[in-house]
């Protein structure tokens, strides 16, 4: 396999962008935040993030913000992922393996239903600010 050059990457980007503009601005302002602290990494957060990217790519959701953060204080249920979709409650999911990541994309982001058996509500009490981060 030949290495892709920066020029090839640039033209690929332009093609994808043209494609994006044709579609609706679906997914805009939705965010996926993955806990990538030592605890997250040890529990497989890299694979989780990779699975999110693959699932989003399959569903042609190119507009979702995907970022990494540190430990949310829920080390016992890592990998943890916060999902923010306008019009839906902000949710922290725990124990998000590859399969669950895919489920979150299909259910939460596409079908707009919460994946109830993985919800862990909010970061640990000493991580969030006194006012609940509001």
């Amino acid at each position: 396999m030949a290495k892709m050059t920066l020029e090839e990457l640039r033209s690929l980007r332009e093609r994808v962008q043209a494609d994006m503009q044709k579609r609706d601005i679906e997914g805009k302002d939705s965010r996926i935040i993955i806990g990538m602290g030592t605890c997250g990494i040890a529990a497989g957060a890299k694979e989780t993030l990779d699975a999110f990217l693959a699932a989003l790519d399959e569903h042609k959701l190119t507009n979702i913000s995907v970022t990494q953060t540190g430990c949310m204080g829920l080390c016992y249920v890592e990998p943890t992922v916060e999902v923010i979709v306008p019009g839906m409650p902000n949710v922290i999911y725990g124990k998000v393996d590859r399969k669950t990541a895919r489920k979150i994309v299909e259910e939460h982001l596409v079908a707009r239903r919460l994946v109830t058996d993985h919800i862990f509500d909010r970061p640990a009490a000493d991580i969030i600010k006194k006012d609940g981060g509001k």
Binding site: M1, A2, K3, M4, L6, L9, R10, L12, R13, V16, Q17, M20, G27, I32, M36, T38, C39, I41, A42, G44, K46, E47, L49, D50, F52, L53, L56, D57, L61, T62, N63, I64, S65, V66, T67, Q68, T69, G70, C71, G73, D126, I127
Partner: protein
């Protein structure tokens, strides 16, 4: 403990981001047997006492989460390197930056597998706290490839949307795959 060398790398390079580094250089040299990695940053650095404590599994800098005792990144790495006949060194100077250098003997039975290096490098490049990250990867003395965050950002725009990240992921994977096919040719 982490499962793969790629996971250790992800963990350790994030320390540099958290130390406020604006320039981070990661070098990965894979030889016949040894895998040598160097992380060099211009973050705030550490004094002697802090360096010693950084290897204590129950030490983390005060302020991030007061009252919590954690900070397992470096101790994990140190222990893993120790277990498989590798070398580990930590050099740092307050106000100058830090260099972490470690090697794994990949032939050692207790060495972790390399893991998904392309994914790890992609996510480090996309990490929100990474400003200027340069990665140099070589295999068996060949030049390999380099990844420059600023250059990639110039091509892809922000490295945050799922669309850009998927492209970045493909790009890094093609570099890694290309390196291996050049090696076997």
């Amino acid at each position: 403990m982490h499962i793969s060398l790629s996971d250790y790398l992800m963990d350790i390079v994030q320390n540099s981001f958290e130390a406020g580094a604006s320039h981070v250089q990661l070098t990965i040299q894979e030889g016949e047997r040894m895998m040598i990695c160097t992380v060099r940053d211009d973050g705030k650095g550490m004094d002697e006492a802090t360096m010693r404590r950084a290897l204590d599994p129950f030490y983390s800098e005060e302020g991030k989460h007061r009252g919590r005792r954690f900070g397992l990144g470096l101790p994990f790495l140190h222990q893993a390197v120790d277990a498989c006949g590798g070398e580990f060194s930590l050099q740092s100077q307050v106000g100058e930056g830090t260099v972490v250098r470690f090697s794994f003997d990949m032939a050692h039975i207790d060495s972790p597998p390399i893991g998904d290096l392309a994914a790890a490098l992609c996510f480090l490049l996309a990490h929100p706290a990474s400003e200027d990250l340069k990665i140099t990867r070589s295999l068996a003395g060949r030049s390999g490839y380099t990844l420059d965050r600023r250059e990639l950002q110039d091509v892809l725009g922000e490295l945050e949307s799922s669309g850009s990240l998927s492209l970045l992921r493909r790009y890094v994977a093609s570099q890694e795959a290309g390196l291996h096919s050049e090696y076997t040719e």
